[in-house]
């Protein structure tokens, strides 16, 4: 580096480096170190090396919770694709001038605090909630139906919180589609189904992939959704971490859980990267 450049380089890169090192790198290293620490009889962290935290986390029960978390995240992602894809397709292919408005309408609900929106679902789905009120008034049911506090309710909440992350990248990918390609496919006599699977879907796959990653990963950590709508019955990895840092009072165990979550995240990102690479080869 040129001597004259050192000062401006320091001024520009210095602050961001300090923050990233002190508040991202250092804390994560500390969490990694802590995950190998023990606790004394008063639950204080002591720096005695142990593998016990990880051993505890690799028994069948914890594995079941990871599997359940991944399962819920997976179902959430699939539902987001199934709902989000046709929806984004229709919105993005609209010729209407209101396209931008339709797009904004997806975003506007998300400017209201997420917790209170989740709570809105609770008010709606509860035993004396609106939905049951409507159903009983219409005579469809005589007794209120239990909608709340099931793993299904957690999934509804997750889909609700995360679906914009799916819709928006899909919208962008679909909007980029070239009309002439679709027409060419039709002119060549392809059925709509074939056009979809052989032209549209491959061209919009990148949107599906980035949407999926953006739905899947946060889903693993949104502990408040399963708390509020799942009634505490469907713990996710996020709930386990939260518990160890709050009431469970076992920070090293929580740290080990966080490290596992980081590893899962990085693996998913790697998979995504791999798929992104494939997309490259396909010429997208």
């Amino acid at each position: 580096m040129d001597k004259k450049q050192i000062k401006p380089a320091l001024v520009t890169i210095g602050p961001v480096t300090v923050i990233m090192v002190l508040l991202i790198a250092l804390p994560l290293i500390y969490v990694a170190v802590m995950s190998f620490c023990s606790i004394d009889e008063y639950y204080n962290v002591t720096f005695d090396f142990t593998l016990e935290n990880y051993m505890r986390l690799f028994n069948a029960d914890y594995l079941k919770i990871y599997a359940q978390s991944l399962g819920i995240a997976f179902i959430t992602t699939v539902l987001c694709i199934l709902i989000g894809y046709p929806f984004s397709y229709i919105i993005a292919r609209t010729k209407s001038r209101r396209k931008k408005v339709l797009y904004m309408l997806v975003i506007i609900p998300f400017w209201t605090n997420s917790l209170i929106r989740i709570y809105g679902w609770r008010t709606f789905l509860g035993n004396s909630g609106w939905l049951n009120g409507i159903l009983t008034a219409l005579g469809i049911v005589s007794e209120p139906v239990d909608f709340l506090y099931k793993s299904g309710t957690t999934i509804v909440g997750m889909v609700y919180c995360l679906i914009p992350f799916m819709i928006l990248p899909l919208y962008t990918a679909i909007e980029k589609l070239d009309d002439s390609l679709l027409e060419a496919s039709q002119d060549l006599g392809a059925k709509p189904v074939n056009t979809f699977f052989e032209v549209i879907l491959p061209l919009t796959m990148s949107g599906i992939f980035s949407g999926s990653l953006m739905v899947f990963i946060p889903c693993l950590g949104y502990f408040f959704v399963s708390d509020i709508l799942g009634g505490g019955n469907t713990d996710m990895i996020g709930n386990l971490i939260e518990r160890q840092f709050q009431s469970g009072n076992n920070w090293p165990l929580g740290a080990a859980l966080s490290i596992i979550l980081i590893i899962v995240t990085l693996l998913l990102v790697k998979v995504y990267q791999k798929m992104g690479g494939d997309m490259d080869a396909l010429g997208v």
Binding site: Y43, Y62, I65, G129, L148, G232, N233, D235, N249
Partner: protein, 336 residues
């Protein structure tokens, strides 16, 4: 905004100092706190927690001096004393301590009330919505009945739920024998299908709204839900209930000791006790406050928990880390 807020309240008083009070959710009357602010000119910043474990975790992770007054339960007081986390209370300043019934003074977890003074207490008991539940429920053990599938709200508190299971098996809530705990776990997991909701903060809500028809919850929550829904009844489990007593204390490092003492002394007054008990009808050790509440309150067995229930019940005590790990594992399995 902040300045305007307290400026109007402090009025004539000198400094406008403030204290940070860390208490249970749904436990101390807003009216009582406002009355204290008015009388003393001290602003009270309230934060809340949902379990003793939350409190202990926060006290550990926050720097000293973050909180000036806390409200730990019996076993948490014992733990905090062992950790040198509490300051001694200057009895000369607690002129209202004489309001507290001697039956609740000098407890085993803090002999001589050196560090803490009792606030309110109660039991974890059972609430039953009789219009929805056919079976007769008289014990913790009845909650394990498969016919109650998906109907119960329990406290989101592992000592309470595991302790209840232990009581139902005739064991202590503080059992530490690994073999016995294996049996406890087996029974505990049979409760899984019956539990619909875990909620420590406002379990009455689910009972009132009809989302749950049975609850294993704090006694005052039952009392409050009975006011909203007359079909709800309170059941004191025949095995003997989980008993608790919550206490005012000052954590070490508090920089507002005098103001904190003033606050605690105010809370021990008969008027404050009356306000608190009116809003949160737990067992009230404050005799002067009880007198103000009148006959009706004293006669209400859901609010003024009968003394034999307390005598039959059991306090929780601290567990060693190995036993805690077993409890934690059980809880994880139950909630997965």
């Amino acid at each position: 905004m902040t300045l305007a807020g307290c400026g109007s309240k402090t009025g004539s008083t000198e400094t406008g100092s403030s204290i940070n009070v860390f208490i249970w959710t749904e436990y101390v009357s807003d009216a009582a706190i406002e009355a204290f602010e008015e009388e003393s000119g001290i602003k009270v910043n309230v934060s809340t927690y949902s379990s003793n474990e939350d409190l202990m975790a926060k006290l550990k992770s926050e720097t000293e001096g973050t909180y000036d007054v806390i409200l730990p339960s019996d076993y948490a007081v014992e733990y905090l004393i062992s950790q040198d986390k509490l300051m001694e209370l200057d009895k000369d300043k607690l002129t209202n301590l004489s309001n507290i019934s001697s039956a609740y003074l000098d407890p085993s977890y803090d002999p001589g009330n050196v560090y803490s003074v009792p606030y309110e207490g109660g039991v974890a008991c059972i609430a039953v919505n009789t219009s929805k539940v056919d079976m007769e429920i008289t014990s913790y053990d009845d909650l394990f009945n498969p016919s109650l599938e998906g109907q119960i709200v329990v406290l989101d508190d592992y000592r309470a739920v595991i302790g209840m299971t232990e009581r139902s098996m005739g064991l202590s809530m503080n059992e530490s024998d690994a073999d016995k705990l294996a049996e406890v776990e087996e029974k505990l997991l049979t409760l899984k299908d019956n539990i619909k909701l875990y909620d420590s903060d406002s379990p009455k809500s689910a009972l009132i709204s009809g989302d749950c028809s049975v609850g294993m919850i704090w006694s005052a929550e039952v009392a409050l839900s009975m006011e909203e829904n007359p079909d709800i009844e309170i059941v004191y489990p025949k095995e003997g209930a989980y008993v608790f007593m919550d206490n005012w204390a000052i954590p070490t490092g508090s920089t507002h000791y005098d103001e904190a003492m003033e606050f605690i002394n105010f809370m021990l007054s008969a008027e404050a006790a009356q306000m608190n008990v009116s809003d949160f009808p737990y067992l009230c050790p404050n005799e002067a406050g009880l007198e103000l509440m009148g006959e009706e309150y004293v006669a209400n067995t859901a609010k003024n928990v009968p003394s034999e229930v307390i005598e039959n019940g059991e306090f929780i005590s601290n567990l060693d880390t190995d036993t805690m790990a077993i409890y934690d594992e059980m809880w994880t399995k139950l909630k997965e």
